[in-house]
């Protein structure tokens, strides 16, 4: 029995393995995917009800409302990211795994994005239509959400890892993650608004893409470090 066994899992296998497990879990509990989506639609519906049915105002506030609602929905889904692993002891098992925790954390974040960010991107056109958004703008909205939710999943994983197992975790998670998420919100929402006003989208999209790459490169390490600390 040696450590260098032929069957030892590779990094990529580890990454895919943990992501697949979380996707399978989500598949068995569809509520975990659907609830944030319902929340997204409801928050988006709150604004027209509060502002009034004026078409002009809705068109004007559409990008902002959709982005704020998406941000809040992501936040809602983050709470449970590491909670069940922490509670049932799976996190202990992952911490003593041969696969580096950074890889496992990245796999979990990817699965989180696939089960919360991507569905948001896919349902956003329906909600956007109710704000009288033209199709060309909806395309940009989906693109900004696609890039932005990747960053949010990654940043949010750090926050979720830092607050897992703490009392009052939900409120704390918001306090920790929201300030970090401001750049994504600003660029995501303003880019859509600029396009709606007839300007170009390139600058904002480049920023969102660059930011997603940056966050992807450091967030898994921070998440892994945070998980180690939280599980002590």
């Amino acid at each position: 029995m040696t450590a260098t066994d032929v069957k030892s899992p590779g990094l990529l296998a580890g990454l895919i393995g943990v992501a697949r497990r979380d996707l399978l879990l989500a598949w068995k509990r569809p509520g975990d995917i659907l609830n944030p989506l319902f929340f997204f639609a409801m928050v988006a519906a709150l604004f027209p009800l509060a502002v009034g049915p004026s078409a002009e105002q809705l068109e004007f506030s559409g990008p902002a409302v959709l982005w704020v609602a998406a941000l809040l929905a992501m936040l809602l889904s983050l709470n449970s990211l590491f909670l069940s692993d922490y509670e049932d002891g799976s996190l202990d098992q992952m911490l003593v795994s041969q696969t580096p925790l950074t890889v496992l954390a990245l796999g979990k974040s990817i699965a989180h994005w696939l089960t919360s960010g991507l569905p948001l991107v896919l349902v956003s056109p329906v909600v956007a239509l109710t704000f009288r958004m033209p199709f060309s703008v909806i395309g940009i909205l989906m693109l900004t959400l696609l890039l932005g939710t990747i960053s949010l999943s990654m940043l949010g994983s750090i926050g979720a890892a830092l607050t897992v197992g703490l009392h009052r975790g939900t409120a704390l998670l918001s306090l920790v993650v929201l300030p970090l998420a401001m750049p994504v919100l600003i660029f995501g929402s303003r880019t859509v608004a600029l396009v709606a006003a007839g300007d170009g989208a390139a600058g904002g999209l480049y920023f969102l893409a660059a930011y997603a790459v940056l966050v992807l490169s450091f967030a898994p390490f921070a998440t892994a470090a945070a998980l180690r600390i939280s599980n002590e």
Partner: protein, 200 residues
């Protein structure tokens, strides 16, 4: 070989132990004994690398664990208090995930489940298994892993007499194959292998 020198551990404000030293060779069993709250689980978690020792060195095969965590974790399988299975996944799905975490041996899967008396439960979600049955699945995890070092925290909890005998039988076989085992217990355990004891 796992060896610790002058280990000490703090939890919160209280000092659990200081200057603890031991050496565990292949074929040996190390028992951690002590009453509830004496720090068995904390020591176990620290040995597994989940919490840091306040001072002292832990070496695996002559290399400091701190410097080569991945190799150490590849040689380690751990049976914790909480079994670490997902309640929504079936028994087989849970055990399949083990391949992501650590190298797997070529033990006959079905024969092993048969021996542990859980082969009927394969397609059931983990949540419908009793606590004792879940402990048996955790035992299957130990045997499936190709890891020389077994760490078991209170392995007899929730198990019936037959199950407890099975734990000792599996540990015996593992030690016979040149493996090592660290076990935290609060009752006397009869093993005919080399036994070291640490009283906490």
């Amino acid at each position: 070989m796992l060896s610790g020198t002058d280990l000490s551990l703090l939890r919160g404000d209280c000092c659990l132990f200081t200057d603890l030293s031991f050496a565990l060779n292949s074929g040996e069993l190390l028992l951690l004994e002590g009453r509830n709250g004496s720090g068995k689980t904390s020591l176990m978690r620290a040995l597994a690398g989940l919490i840091e020792f306040e001072s002292g060195d832990l070496h695996w095969d002559g290399v400091a664990v701190r410097k080569n965590r991945q190799a150490f974790h590849a040689s380690l399988v751990w049976m914790a208090h909480r079994v670490g299975f997902k309640a929504d996944l079936t028994l087989v799905e849970n055990l399949n995930f083990e391949a992501v975490l650590r190298p797997q041996s070529d033990v006959d899967f079905d024969a092993l489940l048969d021996r542990l008396g859980i082969s009927r439960l394969q397609r059931l979600p983990m949540r419908s298994l009793s606590a004792g049955q879940q402990r048996r699945v955790a035992l299957a995890r130990m045997s499936l892993a190709d890891s020389p070092l077994w760490m078991m925290d209170e392995p007899f909890t929730n198990l019936d007499r037959e199950g407890r005998a099975l734990v000792m039988k599996l540990v015996d076989e593992h030690l016979g194959d040149g493996g090592m085992c660290i076990m935290a217990v609060h009752q006397d355990v009869e093993v005919d292998k080399t036994v070291q004891r640490i009283q906490l």
